[in-house]
């Protein structure tokens, strides 16, 4: 672990979908701590509850029981408006399908989190161009996402997740749509840019090729964490 400060503290988090006979327990009492400066991977088979857990951690899904604190704030206790503001300023997202807005240029896509936080467009795009330089896409700022390769699009998504300097980044299968080499490059970029500022990084993945980048790996099944292991590899 890079530091002692907790970015995420989950206690007995329960999430149930459906009612009556249709009930499905997606999370069956999760306890999990993630420190700042740490890269935590959530692994496990499909339907084990990984995505539900990061949705709860990211504040876009409410748990039914238990508590989940992010940087000491209990998300369940916040109003919807407070949760929106908290998400906008403290959390960055990287998605499997990139989820870039297809009609916006690369720089405009990256500037979206700043616009949500009320930064003026010109300033947001200036800062977007700066961070795109850092991820090696300084010459692609005016391109549309459709003009980029999968790896480049994921780098744009990473730049978008970082631009507003959030303390927690959640990533959903960030390398599953990429080939091995590009996936390694993206993970190196993620680890370098995210952790250099002592942020916390949570990655949901099936991709065994990137397990070695994790500081710790939480293995999940049936809505529970079976074990948490520290990585033996130093990246």
């Amino acid at each position: 672990m890079g530091a002692d400060v907790l970015a995420v503290r989950c206690r007995n988090v329960v999430k149930i979908y459906g009612t009556g006979g249709q009930k499905v327990t997606a999370l069956g009492g999760i306890d999990l701590d993630i420190a700042t400066g740490e890269l935590m991977m959530l692994v496990g088979p499909s339907g084990c509850g990984k995505t539900t857990l990061i949705s709860v951690i990211a504040g876009i899904l409410d748990q039914d029981e238990g508590s989940c604190e992010v940087f000491g704030k209990d998300l369940a206790a916040m109003s919807d408006q407070e949760k929106l503001k908290f998400r906008a300023s403290h959390i960055g997202f990287v998605f499997q399908a990139f989820n870039l807005l297809p009609s916006l240029t690369v720089a405009e896509n990256v500037s979206v989190p700043l616009l949500i936080n009320g930064v003026r467009r010109a300033e947001a795009e200036r800062r977007a161009e700066h961070i795109l330089e850092q991820v090696g896409l300084g010459d692609r700022t005016t391109f549309l996402p459709s003009q980029l390769s999968g790896g480049q699009q994921q780098r744009v998504a990473i730049a978008r997740a970082l631009i507003h300097d959030p303390g927690l980044i959640v990533c959903d299968e960030p390398t599953s749509a990429l080939d091995h080499e590009t996936g390694q490059t993206v993970m190196q970029l993620l680890k370098r840019t995210v952790l250099q500022k002592n942020r916390a990084l949570v990655i949901v993945t099936h991709d065994a090729r990137i397990f070695d980048f994790a500081d710790r790996t939480a293995e999940m099944d049936d809505g529970r964490i079976l074990r948490i292991e520290k990585s033996s590899v130093t990246n």
């Binding site: 995505t51 990061i54 949705s55 990211a58 876009i60 899904l61 408006q81 929106l84 503001k85 908290f86 998400r87 906008a88 300023s89 959390i91 997202f93 998605f95 499997q96 399908a97 989820n99 807005l101 297809p102 009609s103 916006l104 405009e108 979206v112 989190p113 616009l115 949500i116 936080n117 467009r121 959903d172």
Partner: protein, 386 residues
């Protein structure tokens, strides 16, 4: 964020043009058919509109509309002239008479007989000759549309164009010789029969022998005279019907509205047009929002509030609505422009602009509301699903 909303809207040119085309079509059919309807209804009273000088029209009390002629005795003219508040009163004959054309066929024409002394009630615009030429022997003035079309002489060449009648040509009106002394521009009428102007006395000689031949009495009120008071006074003292121009136009309009199938036929057409237009435009805009639902989900996950998303959708709706409306009414106006001076009835009024504007706004607001509900209900966790 508004910038993003606009780029989302216009980024996919195909979809954007699809929405615009849908709304353009909607506002086109919302305005084009009603414009034809208004044009047609305007023609029902266009004869009254063309006679602008008199304030009041006096006629038999059973007259229901302008072409429903129930003749009066000539002596009624003097009774009306004797009513207090009347500045002057002149006779007018209006009747449907047979005109024999050069090729031997017959054409029904409206013959309008004007007061011999004053020629009041004549055509609004003279294209050739002058109204005073009616004083020449057997003189008649023919409307330009009739001259070019129904009264035109057949070509001597097989399949050749017919030749419009012109000043100097002769006609045979109910077996009486008539010489064309002028060509006039008049508003097209609902009946679409050619109109022939002549003097009152000559019109009476053309008309079949009847005891009563006076169709209307045109009245000018004295300066400062209240028209409603004067019409009431004429009614009371003569037992005839007396209407101001506006009242007579309304009487005619109401007759056609109540007693013909025009309103119901056009009403169905306009209603269907509105519904089809609304369905096309609403569906297209709703589909656009559905297509972008994931993008809205991403924005929502990243912290965009519902309020901002709603504003973005409303901005998109307002923009496509305004552009679609503008192009739609523009197309209607162009249609009207190219169809002007043809037999097609078309009148594009400001009320129609307001009506279609409200219609398009309703469609956009409705589609936006449906889309907005979808976005409000959207679970941001959707972004983690592939």
């Amino acid at each position: 964020m508004y910038h993003i909303a606009l780029k989302m809207l216009t980024g996919d040119r195909g979809k954007y043009l699809g929405i615009i085309m849908g709304l353009t079509f909607a506002s086109l059919i919302m305005t084009q058919q009603p414009a034809i309807f208004i044009g047609l209804m305007t023609r029902t009273y266009s004869f009254i509109t063309d006679v602008s000088l008199p304030d009041i029209w006096v006629m038999d009390s059973k007259v229901q509309f302008v072409d429903d002629i129930k003749p009066l005795q000539d002596t009624e003219l003097y009774r009306v002239r004797g009513v207090s508040g009347v500045e002057w009163a002149t006779p007018m004959y209006k009747g449907l008479l047979r005109v024999r054309l050069a090729n031997g066929t017959f054409q029904s024409c409206f013959v309008v007989g004007l007061d011999d002394a004053t020629l009041i009630g004549g055509p609004p615009v003279m294209l050739e000759g002058s109204i005073e030429d009616l004083r020449r022997s057997d003189g008649v003035i023919v409307d330009i549309d009739g001259a070019r079309d129904k009264l035109a002489r057949p070509s001597r060449e097989p399949d050749g164009k017919s030749v419009p009648i012109k000043v100097g040509d002769s006609l045979e009106v109910n077996d009486h010789r008539a010489i064309v002394v002028g060509i006039a521009k008049v508003s097209r009428t609902f009946q679409a029969q050619p109109i022939i102007y002549t003097t009152y006395s000559r019109a009476k000689s053309y008309a079949p022998r009847e005891r009563k031949l006076l169709s209307f009495i045109l009245v000018k009120a004295k300066p400062g005279q209240d028209l409603s008071v004067l019409t009431r006074r004429i009614r009371e003292s003569t037992g005839l019907a007396a209407y101001t121009r506006k009242e007579f136009m309304d009487l005619t309009y109401d007759y056609f509205m109540k007693n013909t199938g025009i309103p119901i036929n056009f009403g169905i057409s306009v209603l269907l047009g509105f519904m089809v237009g609304a369905a096309i435009a609403g569906q297209t805009f709703y589909n656009f929002t559905l297509d972008n639902l994931r993008q809205f989900g991403v924005l929502k996950a990243m912290g965009t509030s519902n309020r901002v998303l709603l504003q973005m959708i409303l901005l998109q709706a307002v923009l496509v609505g305004a552009v679609g409306y503008g192009l739609g009414v523009g197309s209607t106006a162009l249609f009207g422009y190219f169809m002007s001076d043809t037999i097609l009835a078309f009148k594009f009024t400001w009320q129609l602009l307001v009506f279609s504007g409200v219609g398009i706004s309703l469609i956009c607001v409705f589609a936006a509301i449906i889309s907005i509900l979808k976005v409000i209900r959207l679970e941001p966790a959707v972004v983690f699903k592939n």
